[in-house]
């Protein structure tokens, strides 16, 4: 339908793909993009189209590329339940509170679930530790690094 040879279309596609992914990966500015494609000697109108294509799709391309980096399973969600153990085969008349947790993790399209349990004091300890972790990003040290790395 395009009246062009198959190889030409294929090469055109590959070239376009390469242009867009490299530009998105490096997150180059508009000016740099324009300078880069200027060398190819296309018409101004085509250059404008390419730039628009780059800007429109850059975010999505970057999010797809971020999936390719080495990763650990990542947190997806968590469900919890309060239980009290009243008796067991080896001991009657207990009152043993526990929190049962279902942890949902994702890894490269696999979804795993872990059922875990913890006691009240460990739960409070977990909360305290993780709140400290959250607070770290707000410290001066981290703020300085974030500022200087841009």
């Amino acid at each position: 339908k395009l009246n062009v040879a198959v190889e030409a279309v294929q090469r055109g596609l590959e070239g376009l793909t390469y242009l867009l992914t490299e530009s998105s990966k490096l997150m180059i500015s508009e000016a740099d993009f324009q300078d880069s494609i200027h060398v190819l000697g296309f018409s101004d109108e085509l250059n404008k189209l390419l730039l628009q294509l780059y800007l429109d799709n850059r975010k999505e391309i970057r999010s797809i590329l971020s999936e390719l980096a080495p990763k650990l399973p990542s947190y997806h969600s968590l469900e919890w339940r309060l239980d009290v153990q009243l008796a067991s085969r080896s001991l009657r008349q207990q009152i043993k509170p526990a929190v049962t947790i279902k942890l949902h993790l994702h890894q490269n399209e696999d979804q795993t679930t872990q059922v875990l349990q913890t006691d009240p004091s460990t739960l409070l300890h977990l909360i305290q530790q993780l709140e400290q972790a959250l607070g770290e990003m707000k410290t001066n040290h981290c703020r300085r690094i974030v500022r200087n790395m841009k």
């Binding site: 969600s77 043993k96 349990q117």
Partner: protein, 151 residues
């Protein structure tokens, strides 16, 4: 017990029987959380004399709490979380993607198996928002625990 010099004059089979009987009695008492009077009555029915009953009960009382803890810990349960560690990273780039500039947390949950005791840790990564979600849900659980204890 079989090596104890004080007991070497007694027939080992009898010794084993006594040991088994005593152990069974103690474990049943512990399991049922029997009080001293119930144990005494039971031992009286077995025709033990008063002095021996008293000795038994005193020893039992001394070790009752440890016994209950031990009995309570027997049994299956899901993996038990014992501790958590975290690591905060700031990602700059990967070979697939440059200029990422994102904080990311690596959380490790130390867990224990009720059967074998140890188990490989559970590790996962999360963003700040995800960690906030996690902590929020844990706090909900803690609040509802608090409310339950006040009922």
């Amino acid at each position: 017990i079989l090596d104890d010099p004080d007991l070497k004059d007694i027939d080992p089979t009898v010794l084993k029987h006594c040991h088994a009987a005593a152990a069974t009695c103690i474990l049943e008492a512990g399991k049922q959380k029997a009080d001293i009077s119930a144990i005494s009555t039971c031992l009286e029915d077995c025709k033990l004399d008063k002095e021996r009953i008293e000795q038994f009960c005193t020893e039992y009382q001394k070790n009752k709490d440890a016994l209950e803890i031990l009995l309570g810990s027997i049994g299956r349960s899901p993996l038990h979380i014992t501790d958590v560690s975290w690591r905060l990273e700031y990602q700059i780039k990967s070979n697939q993607l440059h200029k990422t500039y994102q904080p990311s947390y690596l959380v490790t949950l130390n867990v224990e198996n009720s059967d074998s005791g140890s188990h490989p840790d559970i590790r996962f990564s999360c963003t700040m928002e995800q960690l906030q979600d996690l902590v929020g849900k844990l706090k909900d659980a803690a609040k509802s625990l608090e409310r339950a204890t006040q009922m």
